[in-house]
């Protein structure tokens, strides 16, 4: 600590990869790792439009590297957008210049419940967008894979299906046409197994699975288990068999931690809100902090758009204190992707907070 009462950062003693690796094993590193999930926002470091960043693997890789050099975060998440897999299954995707890519739901690939049979397997190593993500992983690994953590990303099969059917229509089909949905989810699962393994082979140190609908704000727990949870198990098993740990990300409200852990067995969960059944973050930390490593839990919109740097520092400090109970199993992060149009200084402030307040 400095003599004037203001905390000052000490020199880091571990590489980012070592730091994250220890945290994922509940071993206290030199300090709390910081990974503010700077994904699309990285494009702005090199002045690349979002549309190009989403589709040009070399440009995305260069900007992710530049963002890490600028901000100093401990890990990358290769989340490009939630339409990557959907496009390769056949969904038309729109690419705004300065916003996240999105499916054109005026032209859904599955326009009716009778069209689920159109979902066919493809080779993610060759398809346009999934192969691009694999190339990003490879590029990061070749450049900095020895010292910065690379977390690949795979959207869950039900999430992917929602991007090619339309969210509301899919949710209604869960009740009206469950067999057709399950058949499509099964086909998608096979592709995602290959996609995850390909990212591991390209150099990812962990794979993040996103079971977005395992959340009380969307589905009943058993519904999620039946339509996605049981399909997540073989994907997670394949990732572990390929030699790296599985992490879960879900920015939904009231995530079913028990069901997610049972079916995916992740070493860590990245989340934005307290788990289902926990009234607040303190209760959450007490209930889950020692059972699964926490990645989070800074509100991304507030971090990127609302909080002053001083307020964000204080918010980070409080969260670090809240998760001291985890005995090292905590990575300071935004609860979802750092806003692509957010203040990049705030991403740096999250790292600064870990350096100032996160020493073990």
């Amino acid at each position: 600590m400095s003599t004037n009462g203001t905390a000052t950062a000490q020199r880091d003693q571990l590489t980012s990869l070592e730091r994250v690796g220890l945290a994922l094993q509940y071993k206290k590193p030199d300090r709390v790792p910081a990974a503010p999930l700077v994904c699309g926002a990285s494009g702005r470091v090199l002045g690349i439009s979002y549309g190009r960043w989403s589709q040009d693997a070399k440009a995305a890789t260069a900007s992710l590297l530049a963002a890490q050099e600028l901000i100093g975060f401990d890990g990358w998440l290769t989340l490009v957008d939630l339409s990557v897999e959907a496009e390769d299954f056949g969904q038309e995707v729109l690419f705004p210049d300065w916003s996240t890519a999105l499916p054109n739901f005026d032209n859904p690939f599955i326009p009716t419940a009778q069209d689920y049979g159109k979902v066919r397997a493809f080779d993610p190593r060759k398809a346009r967008r999934t192969s691009g993500v694999i190339e990003i992983v490879r590029g990061l690994a070749e450049a900095r894979g020895k010292d910065v953590a690379i977390m690949g990303f795979v959207y869950g099969p039900l999430g992917v299906l929602s991007q090619i059917r339309g969210h509301a229509e899919l949710f209604k089909d869960l009740i009206r046409h469950p067999e057709q949905v399950l058949e499509a989810v099964n086909t998608i699962t096979g592709v995602l197994v290959e996609y995850a393994v390909a990212q591991v082979e390209a150099g990812a140190h962990a794979i993040v699975l996103d079971p977005l609908y395992s959340s009380a704000s969307i589905l009943k727990k058993q519904t999620w288990i039946d339509f996605e949870g049981v399909f997540m198990t073989p994907i997670a098993d394949a990732i572990r068999a390929a030699g790296v740990p599985v992490v879960v990300h879900n920015c939904g409200n009231g995530v079913y931690f028990d069901a997610v852990i049972e079916h995916i067995k992740p070493v860590a969960i990245s989340h934005a809100y307290p788990a289902y059944g926990s009234a607040d973050l303190t209760a959450h930390a007490q209930a889950w902090g020692k059972k699964v490593v926490t990645i989070g839990v800074i509100d991304p919109a507030k971090a990127g758009h609302e909080l002053s740097q001083a307020d964000l520092l204080e918010e980070c400090r409080q969260q670090i204190e809240t998760f001291r109970i985890a005995e090292g199993g905590f990575i300071l992060s935004s609860g979802c992707e750092f806003p692509p149009n957010g203040n990049l200084l705030s991403a740096a402030t999250i790292v600064k907070a870990a350096q100032l307040y996160g020493r073990y």
Binding site: T100, L102, F105, A168, F171, I218, G304
Partner: protein, 220 residues
């Protein structure tokens, strides 16, 4: 054969609650065939059923799929009954223009708010998803709306909400409308910063907010 309207209303409400769209349509046709009061059937049947579904949603017995299908049932009945509602018995609700802002197609939250606003008696003009800021303003002027309700789930499109407010200010019509915002990444702080009149973190609270704000509008 005489039919007890109360029993028919209860059956309609139950059909919506039980997510039975064909039965809801059949019972609605029965209301028409028997010459019963169509608005009473809407109010005490369809809306009552939707309210019951909403209560189960709040109690975590129903989730998004169930609520969406209950709404489909309600709208199926409404399509049959609406042409038979006598003008004088229709609720003259406040008018809301609602939509998902440009660049975003996540519309479930917006749809839930729309349903609950309609159930609460508002006249809702749904512009859908990926709606340009200009279109919100034009439609609000056209229908003389009380409220402009803006939804987004993405941080990258939040500024589109500010754009709506900027247009209203630029054209010196800001005071003619109450602007409310909602969506997962938003906060009261964000609403305050862009100059919106209110923020609601969930659908049911959006309805309360709209009610409160429109009472203020019409009391002024």
């Amino acid at each position: 054969m005489s039919v007890d309207p109360d029993e028919l209303h209860a059956a309609l409400a139950n059909a919506v609650l039980e997510l039975d769209e064909p039965l809801t349509a059949e019972l609605s046709r029965k209301v028409v065939t028997l010459g019963l009061d169509a608005w009473a059937a809407v109010e005490h049947g369809l809306i009552a059923g939707m309210n019951a579904a909403g209560k189960l949603f709040d109690e975590e017995e129903y989730f998004v799929p169930e609520l969406l299908i209950a709404a489909d049932a309600m709208y199926a009945g409404l399509a049959i009954l609406r042409p038979h509602i006598r003008q004088e018995s229709a609720v003259r609700g406040r008018r809301v223009v609602i939509g998902v802002v440009a660049g975003d197609t996540h519309d479930i939250g917006k749809n839930l708010v729309r349903i609950m606003l309609e159930v609460a008696g508002f006249e809702v003009f749904d512009l859908g998803r990926d709606v340009p800021a200009r279109a919100f303003v034009d439609r609000a002027l056209e229908v003389n709306a009380d409220v402009i309700a803006l939804s987004t789930l993405m941080t990258t499109t939040m500024d589109q909400m500010a754009q709506v407010v900027r247009i209203l200010r630029t054209e010196d019509i800001r005071d003619r409308f109450k602007v409310i915002v909602g969506g997962a990444p938003l906060s009261q702080q964000f609403a305050d910063r862009i100059g919106a009149d209110g923020y609601a973190p969930k659908a049911t609270l959006a309805v309360q907010l709209a009610k409160r704000l429109t009472e203020v509008v019409h009391a002024a």
